[in-house]
């Protein structure tokens, strides 16, 4: 029987008050939640002083990025949002199912109401309106006309994102005629996102390679991979970060880790790769040997077997654990503040140390928590969508 079809009253009775104990738990939870929420709202609206966040919003978001160069970040945000809208539209097609309408409504609220309620200046509010509009326009236009595009063009979509990413790094860092903004000037949410995204993108292929190495038939490769993975997993990230700042300069060619920001990014990458490797290894182990044998007996070589048969299946199994690792990685970027980088937490600590805003820690930490939560939720949602897409074909083959 479909519970959704029951009238609300009997549904409530059934789901919340089926037995006296159920009822007690439900009432307890509702009272508890209500009290907590009320206290939080009361604090947020009457006691909290949000001036500390308003006055430092730019600092929190981009750190000490030069003011006159910030148009580059706005341009990048617009590009990313436009691309996100187009991708969304291409994946969904013409229709606007309920989840999409809901997502669009949330975005509208975030893009229009939030900047106003945060008391941002009018020009900045307007920029957010434009960017939100661009995203939804991209969704709408790609939904309408995406299907009419030649297949060849739509195939370019997965390629567009890496290109955009590199373009983004170029825009942020400058060069090629743009004024250079050194990594030491990046900060706040911007730095956190750069570090996390770089580490996520690079640790993924690295983790796959390590997992394959650990299962390789070549003993030396197997030992090295195992040693690396076990060493990294046995060491706390913070010690690796300190270690990295000191010795990475000697280990890597200068161009690869020119400064503290990139050194930290590489350490995060190498750290996460070991954990991703373990997730991928579990995926590889879950694959029956017969899949290898079938592919090899059809004449596929090792690389073709991996690329077309083994990895698509193993990564699907490894996806949830891998995304969990990415989310941890995002949160681990807060450790960068301990080695003196001005990531989101680092900037926040600088703000709180300012005598002008003494004792306003709660406000800052709450904003930090919400920002991190948003980023992690986005990752989680993305992975859920991807998982759904990957599983779509083989729903019935699962036991």
């Amino acid at each position: 029987m479909n519970h959704r079809l029951l009238p609300l009253a009997s549904r409530l009775r059934r789901e919340l008050f089926a037995t006296p104990l159920d009822g007690l738990i439900s009432v307890g939870l509702v009272v508890g939640l209500g009290a907590g929420l009320q206290a939080l709202l009361h604090w947020a609206l009457t006691q909290a002083d949000w001036a500390v966040v308003q006055a430092n919003s730019t600092l929190l978001v981009v750190g000490r990025y030069p003011l006159e160069q910030q148009w580059r970040l706005w341009l990048l945000t617009a590009l990313l949002c436009g691309a996100a809208g187009i991708t969304w539209g291409l994946l969904r097609g013409r229709g606007w199912p309920r989840s999409d309408r809901l997502a669009a409504a949330v975005l509208l609220v975030l893009g229009v109401v939030l900047p106003a309620s945060l008391g941002l200046t009018a020009p900045i509010q307007q920029r957010w309106w434009w960017i939100t509009g661009l995203l939804l326009l991209g969704r709408w236009a790609a939904g309408c006309w995406g299907a009419a595009l030649p297949l060849r063009w739509r195939r370019l979509l997965p390629l567009a994102w890496p290109v955009l990413y590199l373009l983004g790094l170029g825009l942020i860092g400058g060069g090629l005629g743009l004024m250079t903004v050194r990594p030491s000037q990046w900060g706040g949410l911007l730095l956190t996102l750069i570090e996390a995204s770089f580490a996520i993108l690079v640790c993924f292929p690295l983790g796959i390679a390590l997992a394959l190495g650990r299962r390789s038939a070549l003993p030396l490769l197997r030992w090295c991979s195992t040693l690396y993975i076990e060493f990294i997993r046995g060491a706390p990230l913070i010690t690796l970060l300190f270690l990295g700042q000191n010795i990475l300069g000697f280990l890597l060619p200068g161009g690869l880790a020119p400064d503290r920001v990139w050194r930290a990014a590489w350490i995060l990458t190498c750290f996460a790769a070991a954990y991703v490797a373990e997730a991928v290894r579990a995926g590889l182990a879950a694959l029956p040997r017969g899949q290898w044998e079938a592919a090899r007996s059809l004449g596929l070589n090792m690389a073709q077997t991996l690329l077309h048969v083994v990895l698509p299946q193993a990564l699907r199994v490894a996806l949830p654990a891998t995304v969990g690792q990415f989310i941890t990685l995002l949160q681990d970027t807060t450790l960068l503040s301990l080695i003196g980088l001005l990531d989101l937490l680092g900037v926040a600590r600088a703000v709180m140390a300012n005598p002008e805003f003494l004792g306003r820690n709660a406000e800052v930490y709450l904003v930090l928590a919400v920002l991190f939560w948003c980023c992690c939720a986005a990752l989680g949602l993305g992975s859920r969508a991807l998982e759904h897409r990957l599983n779509r074909h083989s729903l019935r083959s699962e036991p």
């Binding site: 017969g290 090899r296 007996s297 059809l298 698509p312 299946q313 074909h393 083989s394």
Partner: protein, 258 residues
């Protein structure tokens, strides 16, 4: 090894030799001596059925033909190419030798059609549309034309095994190996798979089949091979093998399965 065997095995046959195994010995890494100097010759267009008790090394022997298992002594020549550690030689042999497994081993993340077209497009670099046309024809031949766009998990066991056969055929192999192709099937599906195999035999495909299906062996096999304890103990035409087995191990085996 019996004295009668070499004469039986190398009996003058005008047809080309497709598989020639001489003195094949294999030890598993744990030291188990799984093959103890096995000899076998398979000619073009021949259907050889391998029978024998569980653990006698049938699968191990069959899987040496396409290098899924290695071996330490002896030699195997498949379609004129001698098996060695050379990866390119192994790949060349695998292109010409199809294999059908007990557990089907279809690729669950690919549609039935993509299961068939994957290897011909990747390995033989053939045009995708052309391979698709051929794949649909093959699916028609094994009687599952209308399932082409489903996924393996949506098919019955018998259908999956027929897809697996079609997938091998799509590579246009010169030899097909079957390792207990019907053992994982519900009884009512066994026949549909055996029918397909019988058709293939009629069309002149060279086949080596490990199976316990006596009726199939009687009707389709040119020769029946009995393996026991890692060696071939008897090779005989099916009428002779089933009615007048020579070797005591054969008699023991036949009394156990009937």
């Amino acid at each position: 090894m019996t004295e009668a065997m070499p004469s039986l095995d190398t009996a003058a046959d005008p047809r080309a030799v497709m598989i020639e195994a001489r003195g094949v010995e294999k030890w598993y890494p744990n030291g188990f001596h799984a093959l103890r100097g096995v000899n076998l010759t398979v000619h073009q267009g021949e259907v050889v059925v391998i029978m024998g008790p569980s653990g006698s090394g049938k699968s191990t022997f069959l899987r040496t033909f396409n290098a899924l298992e290695d071996f330490q002594k002896g030699s195997i020549v498949v379609d004129g190419i001698e098996l060695s550690d050379d990866v390119r030689r192994i790949d060349a042999i695998r292109r010409e030798v199809g294999m059908v497994f007990q557990q089907f081993n279809l690729f669950p993340h690919l549609s039935v059609l993509d299961n068939l077209t994957l290897a011909p497009t990747l390995v033989r670099h053939r045009n995708k549309a052309e391979v698709q046309k051929q794949a649909l024809e093959l699916l028609g031949r094994v009687g599952i034309h209308e399932q082409a766009h489903k996924f393996p998990g949506q098919l019955s066991g018998g259908q999956q095994q027929r897809v697996a056969i079609a997938r091998s055929l799509c590579m246009e192999p010169r030899i097909l190996l079957f390792d207990e192709p019907t053992s994982a099937l519900d009884p009512e599906m066994v026949q549909e798979v055996l029918m397909v195999m019988q058709e293939l035999a009629k069309e002149g495909m060279t086949m080596v089949v490990v199976t316990h299906e006596v009726r199939f062996a009687r009707q389709v096999a040119d020769r029946v091979v009995l393996m026991a304890d890692g060696d071939v103990v008897e090779i005989a035409p099916p009428e002779q093998f089933f009615s007048a087995p020579q070797h005591p191990r054969s008699r023991q085996f036949l009394s156990q399965i009937s």
